[in-house]
Assembly symmetry: C2
Homo-oligomer: 203 residues x 2
Protein backbone atom coordinates (compact mmCIF):
# COMPACT_ATOMS: atom_id res chain seq x y z
CA UNK A 1 0.00 0.00 0.00
CA UNK A 2 1.37 3.39 -1.03
CA UNK A 3 0.08 6.51 0.64
CA UNK A 4 0.06 9.65 -1.41
CA UNK A 5 -1.74 12.89 -0.94
CA UNK A 6 -3.13 14.88 -3.88
CA UNK A 7 0.02 17.00 -3.97
CA UNK A 8 2.18 13.92 -4.47
CA UNK A 9 0.00 12.66 -7.31
CA UNK A 10 0.05 16.08 -8.93
CA UNK A 11 3.84 16.15 -8.58
CA UNK A 12 4.10 12.73 -10.22
CA UNK A 13 1.93 13.85 -13.09
CA UNK A 14 4.02 16.99 -13.47
CA UNK A 15 7.26 14.97 -13.60
CA UNK A 16 5.88 12.62 -16.24
CA UNK A 17 4.58 15.58 -18.25
CA UNK A 18 7.96 17.30 -18.14
CA UNK A 19 9.71 14.11 -19.25
CA UNK A 20 7.20 13.72 -22.08
CA UNK A 21 7.67 17.34 -23.05
CA UNK A 22 11.45 17.03 -23.04
CA UNK A 23 11.21 13.86 -25.12
CA UNK A 24 9.13 15.78 -27.66
CA UNK A 25 11.71 18.54 -27.89
CA UNK A 26 14.69 16.16 -28.00
CA UNK A 27 13.16 13.71 -30.48
CA UNK A 28 12.09 16.65 -32.62
CA UNK A 29 15.62 18.08 -32.62
CA UNK A 30 17.14 14.71 -33.50
CA UNK A 31 14.77 14.13 -36.41
CA UNK A 32 15.26 17.63 -37.76
CA UNK A 33 18.53 18.14 -39.72
CA UNK A 34 20.16 21.58 -39.89
CA UNK A 35 18.49 22.25 -43.19
CA UNK A 36 17.26 25.19 -45.23
CA UNK A 37 14.05 23.22 -45.35
CA UNK A 38 13.54 22.13 -41.77
CA UNK A 39 13.09 18.36 -41.59
CA UNK A 40 13.77 17.85 -45.28
CA UNK A 41 15.21 14.41 -45.95
CA UNK A 42 18.99 14.33 -45.72
CA UNK A 43 20.84 14.38 -49.02
CA UNK A 44 21.32 10.79 -50.01
CA UNK A 45 24.23 10.08 -52.28
CA UNK A 46 25.54 6.57 -52.19
CA UNK A 47 28.62 4.94 -53.61
CA UNK A 48 29.23 1.31 -54.47
CA UNK A 49 32.02 -0.60 -52.74
CA UNK A 50 34.31 0.09 -55.72
CA UNK A 51 33.66 3.85 -55.62
CA UNK A 52 30.99 4.28 -58.27
CA UNK A 53 28.25 6.80 -57.63
CA UNK A 54 24.75 5.40 -57.53
CA UNK A 55 22.08 7.42 -59.32
CA UNK A 56 20.87 10.08 -56.87
CA UNK A 57 17.26 9.98 -55.79
CA UNK A 58 14.88 12.61 -54.44
CA UNK A 59 16.91 15.51 -55.80
CA UNK A 60 13.86 17.24 -57.30
CA UNK A 61 12.97 18.07 -53.70
CA UNK A 62 16.36 19.60 -53.00
CA UNK A 63 17.05 23.32 -53.42
CA UNK A 64 16.62 24.53 -56.97
CA UNK A 65 19.41 26.90 -57.98
CA UNK A 66 19.00 27.57 -61.69
CA UNK A 67 18.43 26.52 -65.27
CA UNK A 68 21.09 27.23 -67.88
CA UNK A 69 19.91 26.34 -71.37
CA UNK A 70 22.07 25.16 -74.28
CA UNK A 71 19.62 24.25 -77.04
CA UNK A 72 20.75 21.89 -79.77
CA UNK A 73 19.60 24.37 -82.40
CA UNK A 74 22.13 26.92 -81.12
CA UNK A 75 24.95 24.37 -80.96
CA UNK A 76 25.20 22.86 -84.43
CA UNK A 77 22.50 20.35 -83.65
CA UNK A 78 24.28 18.75 -80.73
CA UNK A 79 24.88 20.63 -77.49
CA UNK A 80 27.44 19.27 -75.05
CA UNK A 81 24.68 19.30 -72.46
CA UNK A 82 21.33 19.00 -74.25
CA UNK A 83 19.34 21.09 -73.42
CA UNK A 84 17.71 22.57 -70.27
CA UNK A 85 19.97 22.06 -67.22
CA UNK A 86 17.84 22.13 -64.06
CA UNK A 87 20.33 22.35 -61.23
CA UNK A 88 19.66 21.35 -57.62
CA UNK A 89 21.77 21.48 -54.47
CA UNK A 90 21.34 19.29 -51.40
CA UNK A 91 19.44 21.29 -48.75
CA UNK A 92 21.97 20.88 -45.92
CA UNK A 93 24.78 22.27 -48.07
CA UNK A 94 22.49 25.07 -49.24
CA UNK A 95 21.79 26.00 -45.61
CA UNK A 96 25.54 26.14 -45.05
CA UNK A 97 25.93 28.27 -48.18
CA UNK A 98 23.30 30.70 -46.89
CA UNK A 99 25.31 31.20 -43.72
CA UNK A 100 28.80 31.29 -45.18
CA UNK A 101 28.67 31.80 -48.94
CA UNK A 102 30.82 28.66 -49.21
CA UNK A 103 30.28 25.22 -50.68
CA UNK A 104 30.86 22.90 -47.76
CA UNK A 105 32.69 19.61 -47.86
CA UNK A 106 30.05 17.15 -48.98
CA UNK A 107 28.17 19.52 -51.28
CA UNK A 108 26.19 17.70 -53.95
CA UNK A 109 24.93 19.41 -57.10
CA UNK A 110 22.62 17.56 -59.46
CA UNK A 111 22.11 18.71 -63.04
CA UNK A 112 19.05 17.18 -64.63
CA UNK A 113 18.79 17.60 -68.38
CA UNK A 114 15.58 17.94 -70.32
CA UNK A 115 14.85 18.43 -73.98
CA UNK A 116 13.34 21.44 -75.65
CA UNK A 117 9.73 20.35 -76.14
CA UNK A 118 8.41 23.43 -77.85
CA UNK A 119 9.61 26.76 -79.16
CA UNK A 120 6.31 28.57 -79.08
CA UNK A 121 3.66 28.83 -76.40
CA UNK A 122 0.82 31.21 -75.52
CA UNK A 123 3.34 33.24 -73.51
CA UNK A 124 5.49 33.89 -76.56
CA UNK A 125 8.33 32.46 -78.57
CA UNK A 126 11.09 30.80 -76.65
CA UNK A 127 12.16 27.50 -75.24
CA UNK A 128 9.86 25.23 -73.26
CA UNK A 129 10.82 22.04 -71.48
CA UNK A 130 9.95 18.69 -73.02
CA UNK A 131 11.08 15.42 -71.44
CA UNK A 132 13.87 14.46 -69.08
CA UNK A 133 16.88 13.19 -71.00
CA UNK A 134 19.93 13.15 -68.76
CA UNK A 135 21.44 13.39 -65.31
CA UNK A 136 24.79 14.58 -63.99
CA UNK A 137 26.23 15.14 -60.55
CA UNK A 138 29.08 17.17 -59.07
CA UNK A 139 30.31 16.35 -55.56
CA UNK A 140 32.85 18.14 -53.39
CA UNK A 141 34.52 15.75 -50.98
CA UNK A 142 37.99 16.42 -49.61
CA UNK A 143 38.46 12.82 -48.47
CA UNK A 144 36.98 10.78 -51.30
CA UNK A 145 38.29 13.14 -54.00
CA UNK A 146 41.40 14.40 -52.26
CA UNK A 147 43.40 14.30 -55.50
CA UNK A 148 40.88 16.23 -57.58
CA UNK A 149 41.33 19.97 -58.10
CA UNK A 150 39.13 21.75 -55.56
CA UNK A 151 38.07 18.30 -54.31
CA UNK A 152 35.28 18.24 -56.90
CA UNK A 153 34.37 15.14 -58.91
CA UNK A 154 31.87 14.89 -61.75
CA UNK A 155 29.59 12.07 -62.80
CA UNK A 156 27.37 11.61 -65.84
CA UNK A 157 24.55 9.08 -65.86
CA UNK A 158 24.06 9.68 -69.57
CA UNK A 159 22.21 12.02 -71.89
CA UNK A 160 19.42 9.66 -72.88
CA UNK A 161 17.05 7.34 -71.09
CA UNK A 162 17.41 4.77 -69.67
CA UNK A 163 20.13 6.37 -67.56
CA UNK A 164 23.00 4.40 -66.10
CA UNK A 165 22.39 3.13 -62.58
CA UNK A 166 25.93 3.78 -61.32
CA UNK A 167 28.94 5.51 -62.82
CA UNK A 168 32.56 6.18 -62.01
CA UNK A 169 34.07 9.64 -62.10
CA UNK A 170 36.81 8.56 -64.50
CA UNK A 171 34.64 8.96 -67.55
CA UNK A 172 34.17 12.68 -67.08
CA UNK A 173 37.55 13.85 -65.79
CA UNK A 174 37.58 16.65 -68.36
CA UNK A 175 34.74 18.38 -66.48
CA UNK A 176 37.04 19.54 -63.76
CA UNK A 177 39.44 21.30 -66.10
CA UNK A 178 36.64 23.44 -67.55
CA UNK A 179 35.11 24.19 -64.15
CA UNK A 180 38.52 25.09 -62.68
CA UNK A 181 39.45 27.35 -65.58
CA UNK A 182 36.10 29.14 -65.85
CA UNK A 183 34.66 29.03 -62.35
CA UNK A 184 37.72 28.55 -60.15
CA UNK A 185 37.15 31.85 -58.37
CA UNK A 186 33.77 30.69 -57.10
CA UNK A 187 34.88 27.22 -56.00
CA UNK A 188 34.30 25.48 -59.35
CA UNK A 189 30.59 26.50 -59.45
CA UNK A 190 29.33 28.80 -62.22
CA UNK A 191 27.59 31.10 -59.73
CA UNK A 192 27.43 33.86 -62.33
CA UNK A 193 24.54 31.98 -63.96
CA UNK A 194 22.63 31.30 -60.73
CA UNK A 195 20.82 34.31 -59.28
CA UNK A 196 19.30 32.06 -56.61
CA UNK A 197 22.80 31.31 -55.30
CA UNK A 198 23.90 34.93 -55.42
CA UNK A 199 20.76 36.08 -53.58
CA UNK A 200 21.21 33.41 -50.91
CA UNK A 201 24.83 34.24 -50.08
CA UNK A 202 25.44 36.41 -46.99
CA UNK A 203 25.69 40.12 -47.85
CA UNK B 1 -5.61 12.53 2.07
CA UNK B 2 -5.81 10.34 -1.01
CA UNK B 3 -5.07 6.64 -0.71
CA UNK B 4 -3.56 4.95 -3.74
CA UNK B 5 -1.79 1.64 -4.12
CA UNK B 6 1.16 1.18 -6.48
CA UNK B 7 -1.15 -0.08 -9.21
CA UNK B 8 -3.17 3.13 -9.05
CA UNK B 9 -0.07 5.28 -9.29
CA UNK B 10 1.20 3.22 -12.22
CA UNK B 11 -2.19 3.58 -13.88
CA UNK B 12 -2.09 7.35 -13.35
CA UNK B 13 1.36 7.55 -14.88
CA UNK B 14 0.23 5.42 -17.80
CA UNK B 15 -2.76 7.71 -18.41
CA UNK B 16 -0.57 10.81 -18.33
CA UNK B 17 1.97 9.16 -20.61
CA UNK B 18 -0.75 8.25 -23.11
CA UNK B 19 -2.08 11.82 -23.02
CA UNK B 20 1.46 13.16 -23.49
CA UNK B 21 2.02 10.72 -26.33
CA UNK B 22 -1.22 11.69 -28.00
CA UNK B 23 -0.30 15.35 -27.60
CA UNK B 24 3.00 14.64 -29.30
CA UNK B 25 1.25 12.97 -32.21
CA UNK B 26 -1.44 15.64 -32.47
CA UNK B 27 0.89 18.61 -32.02
CA UNK B 28 3.33 16.97 -34.41
CA UNK B 29 0.61 16.53 -37.00
CA UNK B 30 -0.48 20.13 -36.62
CA UNK B 31 3.05 21.49 -36.91
CA UNK B 32 3.96 19.11 -39.68
CA UNK B 33 2.19 19.90 -42.94
CA UNK B 34 1.44 17.04 -45.33
CA UNK B 35 4.41 18.07 -47.34
CA UNK B 36 6.65 16.64 -50.02
CA UNK B 37 9.38 17.97 -47.78
CA UNK B 38 8.38 16.73 -44.33
CA UNK B 39 8.18 19.62 -41.88
CA UNK B 40 8.96 22.23 -44.50
CA UNK B 41 7.54 25.60 -43.52
CA UNK B 42 3.90 25.99 -44.49
CA UNK B 43 3.25 28.00 -47.62
CA UNK B 44 2.79 31.54 -46.49
CA UNK B 45 0.61 33.69 -48.67
CA UNK B 46 -1.01 36.62 -46.98
CA UNK B 47 -3.67 39.05 -48.04
CA UNK B 48 -4.33 42.58 -46.83
CA UNK B 49 -7.68 43.42 -45.24
CA UNK B 50 -8.89 44.74 -48.59
CA UNK B 51 -7.96 41.57 -50.46
CA UNK B 52 -4.60 42.48 -51.95
CA UNK B 53 -1.94 39.78 -52.07
CA UNK B 54 1.23 40.55 -50.17
CA UNK B 55 4.47 39.66 -51.90
CA UNK B 56 5.15 35.96 -51.18
CA UNK B 57 8.26 35.08 -49.22
CA UNK B 58 10.34 31.94 -48.97
CA UNK B 59 9.11 30.53 -52.28
CA UNK B 60 12.62 29.68 -53.50
CA UNK B 61 12.48 26.86 -50.96
CA UNK B 62 9.19 25.55 -52.31
CA UNK B 63 9.02 22.82 -54.94
CA UNK B 64 10.60 23.81 -58.23
CA UNK B 65 8.48 22.71 -61.18
CA UNK B 66 10.03 24.24 -64.28
CA UNK B 67 11.56 27.09 -66.25
CA UNK B 68 9.89 28.25 -69.44
CA UNK B 69 11.96 30.86 -71.25
CA UNK B 70 10.67 33.67 -73.46
CA UNK B 71 13.73 35.77 -74.31
CA UNK B 72 13.25 39.36 -75.39
CA UNK B 73 15.35 38.71 -78.48
CA UNK B 74 12.80 36.15 -79.70
CA UNK B 75 9.84 38.43 -78.97
CA UNK B 76 10.50 41.67 -80.84
CA UNK B 77 12.61 42.99 -77.99
CA UNK B 78 9.89 42.81 -75.37
CA UNK B 79 8.52 39.50 -74.16
CA UNK B 80 5.23 39.47 -72.28
CA UNK B 81 7.08 37.69 -69.49
CA UNK B 82 10.76 38.62 -69.71
CA UNK B 83 12.61 36.25 -69.67
CA UNK B 84 13.35 33.08 -67.62
CA UNK B 85 10.26 31.97 -65.66
CA UNK B 86 11.34 29.94 -62.64
CA UNK B 87 8.14 28.37 -61.34
CA UNK B 88 7.62 27.08 -57.81
CA UNK B 89 4.67 25.37 -56.10
CA UNK B 90 3.95 25.36 -52.39
CA UNK B 91 5.14 22.03 -50.93
CA UNK B 92 1.85 21.02 -49.28
CA UNK B 93 -0.04 21.38 -52.57
CA UNK B 94 2.75 19.53 -54.37
CA UNK B 95 2.42 16.63 -51.93
CA UNK B 96 -1.30 16.59 -52.68
CA UNK B 97 -0.52 16.65 -56.42
CA UNK B 98 1.83 13.67 -56.02
CA UNK B 99 -0.99 11.67 -54.46
CA UNK B 100 -3.85 12.77 -56.70
CA UNK B 101 -2.55 14.49 -59.81
CA UNK B 102 -4.82 17.41 -58.87
CA UNK B 103 -4.19 21.00 -57.88
CA UNK B 104 -5.83 21.27 -54.48
CA UNK B 105 -7.85 24.20 -53.24
CA UNK B 106 -5.24 26.61 -51.90
CA UNK B 107 -2.54 25.78 -54.45
CA UNK B 108 -0.03 28.60 -54.87
CA UNK B 109 2.26 28.88 -57.88
CA UNK B 110 4.99 31.50 -57.94
CA UNK B 111 6.65 32.55 -61.18
CA UNK B 112 9.88 34.40 -60.62
CA UNK B 113 11.29 36.19 -63.65
CA UNK B 114 14.95 36.69 -64.37
CA UNK B 115 16.78 38.31 -67.23
CA UNK B 116 19.01 36.67 -69.79
CA UNK B 117 22.45 37.49 -68.46
CA UNK B 118 24.53 35.82 -71.14
CA UNK B 119 24.11 33.97 -74.41
CA UNK B 120 27.39 32.13 -74.37
CA UNK B 121 29.13 30.13 -71.68
CA UNK B 122 31.79 27.42 -71.52
CA UNK B 123 29.00 24.85 -71.89
CA UNK B 124 27.90 26.27 -75.23
CA UNK B 125 25.69 28.86 -76.82
CA UNK B 126 22.34 29.36 -75.22
CA UNK B 127 20.59 31.36 -72.56
CA UNK B 128 21.96 31.87 -69.06
CA UNK B 129 20.21 33.55 -66.18
CA UNK B 130 21.17 37.08 -65.18
CA UNK B 131 19.32 38.96 -62.46
CA UNK B 132 15.87 38.68 -60.93
CA UNK B 133 13.47 41.10 -62.57
CA UNK B 134 9.89 40.15 -61.73
CA UNK B 135 7.46 38.12 -59.67
CA UNK B 136 3.99 36.73 -60.36
CA UNK B 137 1.65 34.44 -58.48
CA UNK B 138 -1.31 32.23 -59.33
CA UNK B 139 -3.60 31.02 -56.56
CA UNK B 140 -6.49 28.58 -56.66
CA UNK B 141 -9.02 29.33 -53.95
CA UNK B 142 -12.66 28.34 -54.32
CA UNK B 143 -13.78 30.68 -51.54
CA UNK B 144 -11.74 33.79 -52.10
CA UNK B 145 -11.94 33.54 -55.90
CA UNK B 146 -15.30 31.83 -56.21
CA UNK B 147 -16.23 33.96 -59.23
CA UNK B 148 -13.04 33.31 -61.16
CA UNK B 149 -12.95 30.60 -63.83
CA UNK B 150 -11.45 27.49 -62.26
CA UNK B 151 -11.16 29.50 -59.02
CA UNK B 152 -7.73 30.72 -60.14
CA UNK B 153 -6.58 34.32 -59.62
CA UNK B 154 -3.38 35.89 -60.94
CA UNK B 155 -1.17 38.57 -59.46
CA UNK B 156 1.81 40.46 -60.85
CA UNK B 157 4.24 42.26 -58.60
CA UNK B 158 5.87 43.82 -61.63
CA UNK B 159 8.55 43.07 -64.17
CA UNK B 160 11.26 45.29 -62.77
CA UNK B 161 12.76 45.93 -59.36
CA UNK B 162 11.76 47.24 -56.91
CA UNK B 163 8.70 45.01 -57.01
CA UNK B 164 5.35 46.08 -55.64
CA UNK B 165 4.75 45.06 -52.04
CA UNK B 166 1.09 44.14 -52.50
CA UNK B 167 -1.17 43.87 -55.52
CA UNK B 168 -4.79 43.21 -56.37
CA UNK B 169 -5.85 40.58 -58.86
CA UNK B 170 -7.83 43.10 -60.92
CA UNK B 171 -4.80 44.31 -62.81
CA UNK B 172 -4.18 40.95 -64.41
CA UNK B 173 -7.66 39.58 -65.10
CA UNK B 174 -6.65 38.80 -68.68
CA UNK B 175 -4.35 36.03 -67.39
CA UNK B 176 -7.24 33.77 -66.65
CA UNK B 177 -8.64 33.88 -70.17
CA UNK B 178 -5.36 32.68 -71.65
CA UNK B 179 -4.85 29.99 -69.03
CA UNK B 180 -8.43 28.74 -69.42
CA UNK B 181 -8.21 28.63 -73.21
CA UNK B 182 -4.79 27.01 -73.43
CA UNK B 183 -4.48 24.96 -70.26
CA UNK B 184 -8.09 24.40 -69.24
CA UNK B 185 -7.78 20.64 -69.57
CA UNK B 186 -5.04 20.53 -66.94
CA UNK B 187 -6.75 22.84 -64.45
CA UNK B 188 -5.37 26.10 -65.85
CA UNK B 189 -1.74 24.97 -65.40
CA UNK B 190 0.51 24.54 -68.45
CA UNK B 191 1.65 21.09 -67.34
CA UNK B 192 2.84 20.29 -70.85
CA UNK B 193 5.89 22.48 -70.18
CA UNK B 194 6.66 21.01 -66.76
CA UNK B 195 8.25 17.55 -66.83
CA UNK B 196 8.68 17.71 -63.04
CA UNK B 197 4.89 17.91 -62.66
CA UNK B 198 4.23 15.14 -65.14
CA UNK B 199 6.77 12.85 -63.45
CA UNK B 200 5.28 13.56 -60.01
CA UNK B 201 1.67 12.75 -60.94
CA UNK B 202 0.38 9.28 -60.00
CA UNK B 203 0.77 6.78 -62.85
Amino acid sequence: MLRLNRTSVTAWIAVVAVIAGLSYVLIGAAVRPASAQPNAPAARVEFTADGKLKQPVGYRKWMYIGTPLTPNDMNDGEASFPEFHEVYMDPESFAHYEKTGKFRDGTVLVKELSSVGSKEAPSGKGYFQGEFTGLETAIKDSKRFKDEPGYWAYFSFGHEYPLKKEVSKGAVASCNQCHETNAGKTDWVFSQYYPVLRAAAPK
